[in-house]
């Protein structure tokens, strides 16, 4: 077990990881609000029928709009999207959790799944992701 830091220690950045904190919550509010609205089937249909109009209705920022239009999941996160809410948009876009993982890691979906399974065989995350990236 790694040595835990003190609870009050100033956090170091965690590679490949964005904390959804106040800054992100503020930046991503509109995008997340749109995703939250997708709990309603009628809203999902409205988005599918006219994505542009629906994004306008929720006043998405230009960055958010662009990330949604291009299905750019890392862009959605960078624009303040929270994965718990984005998962609802992913569903509309037909993306599974593994598809979303692949989009964020730059792996193919098969390579991403293989990386998960490699961890299941007892291989470390670091080794699994390295093999997935470099063969």
């Amino acid at each position: 077990m790694p040595h835990p830091a003190s609870p009050t220690e100033t956090p170091r950045a965690i590679p490949g990881t964005t904390l959804f904190d106040g800054d992100a919550a503020q930046k991503g509010y509109q995008l997340n609000a749109m995703c939250f609205s997708f709990n309603s089937a009628a809203n999902r249909a409205a988005f599918a029928a006219d994505e542009e109009a629906y994004c306008t209705r929720f006043a998405l920022t230009a960055d958010q709009r662009r990330a949604v239009a291009t299905r750019d999941v890392p862009g959605m996160i960078a624009a303040g999207g929270n994965i718990y809410y984005l998962a609802k948009l992913a569903g509309i876009l037909g993306l599974s959790v593994q598809d979303v993982g692949a989009l964020q890691t730059g792996l193919s979906v098969d390579a991403f799944k293989a990386m998960l399974l490699a961890q299941g065989r007892g291989q470390s995350y670091e080794q699994s992701i390295a093999e997935a990236r470099h063969g």
Partner: protein
């Protein structure tokens, strides 16, 4: 006097619901996970709880960022599931136990916690899936629900220490409850997983083993970790272990492990199941 019969912990990945609906429990992918549940069902059949106090986190069904609680205690007569955004079949509603909920709320506020009280609350897969796994063949849940939600979505999250203290305050409430019900404590979510960012797909069996090894006998060991430590070691969604830590506190001072199962991956998640009894 009410009796706390024990605590049941499990991961709550949405895909488990899909596997149940498809009847995939015995496929090679799912079998190592579902094989952890016959002992859970046998134990529940033996201890016969009629109330479940469940610590879990909302996944954007009941709460949004407009009004985001740190700790939310349900005090409703009934809790319904609703469309979480994927149009899946709804889970069965769960009856509440408002009188016990208010008793818990009174204790929490007396102990200087600052809960949000929810007389109306939707419950998501984080509560429904553990119930489905525990009682797969019932038409109505055999337990009434006191749901306690913990913010694992938006930082700052409550610390592991705070969550353990929350659970211990709930334990005080359950210990002084005058009813004759049999209470099971449930903690759901985790263990290590990360859905977002370049590190998506990260899992950490070392950390998970540390949690599972210390949960019964030394839960305070988990509180030496900051939330930032937990994210680093368990992944951005691995922080759901806070629900386990709070539930462990609610079980009471001493505990003994009576069952454990651990398997990865289930979807992107290292899935764990555990039963503890009061020691």
């Amino acid at each position: 006097m009410a009796e706390i019969v024990g605590a049941y912990f499990t991961s709550h990945v949405p895909g488990i619901g899909g596997a149940i609906q498809r009847g995939d429990q015995q496929t090679p992918y799912w079998k190592p996970f579902f094989d952890g549940f016959p002992p859970v069902r046998e134990w529940l059949a033996a201890v016969r709880p009629d109330i479940a106090v469940v610590f879990s986190n909302d996944h954007g069904l009941n709460f949004f960022l407009d009004t985001m609680p740190t700790f939310a205690v349900g005090a409703a007569a009934e809790y319904r599931n609703a469309d979480e955004g994927w149009g899946l079949p709804l889970y069965k509603p769960v009856k509440g136990h408002p009188a016990l909920s208010w008793h818990v709320i009174e204790q929490l506020v007396a102990d200087e916690f600052d809960p949000v009280t929810c007389q109306a609350m939707l419950v998501d897969h984080a509560i429904a899936i553990p119930l489905e796994l525990a009682w797969p063949d019932v038409t109505e849940w055999p337990v009434k629900l006191v749901p306690i939600g913990i913010n694992t979505v938006q930082h700052p999250l409550p610390s592991a220490r705070r969550c353990l203290a929350l659970g211990r305050s709930v334990h005080r409430a359950l210990s002084s409850w005058g009813g004759d019900e049999r209470i099971v404590v449930i903690g759901t979510g985790g263990l290590s997983h990360q859905l977002d960012g370049e590190r998506a797909g990260f899992m950490n069996p070392d950390f998970d083993r540390f949690c599972l090894d210390h949960l019964a006998a030394d839960p305070d060991a988990l509180t030496h970790l900051s939330v930032h430590d937990i994210v680093r070691l368990a992944g951005t969604q691995g922080v759901e272990v806070l629900n386990w830590i709070a539930a462990r506190g609610a079980l009471g001072p001493g505990a003994v492990e009576i069952h454990r199962n651990y398997h990865l991956p289930i979807s992107n998640t290292a899935a764990a199941t555990m039963l503890l009894e009061p020691a």
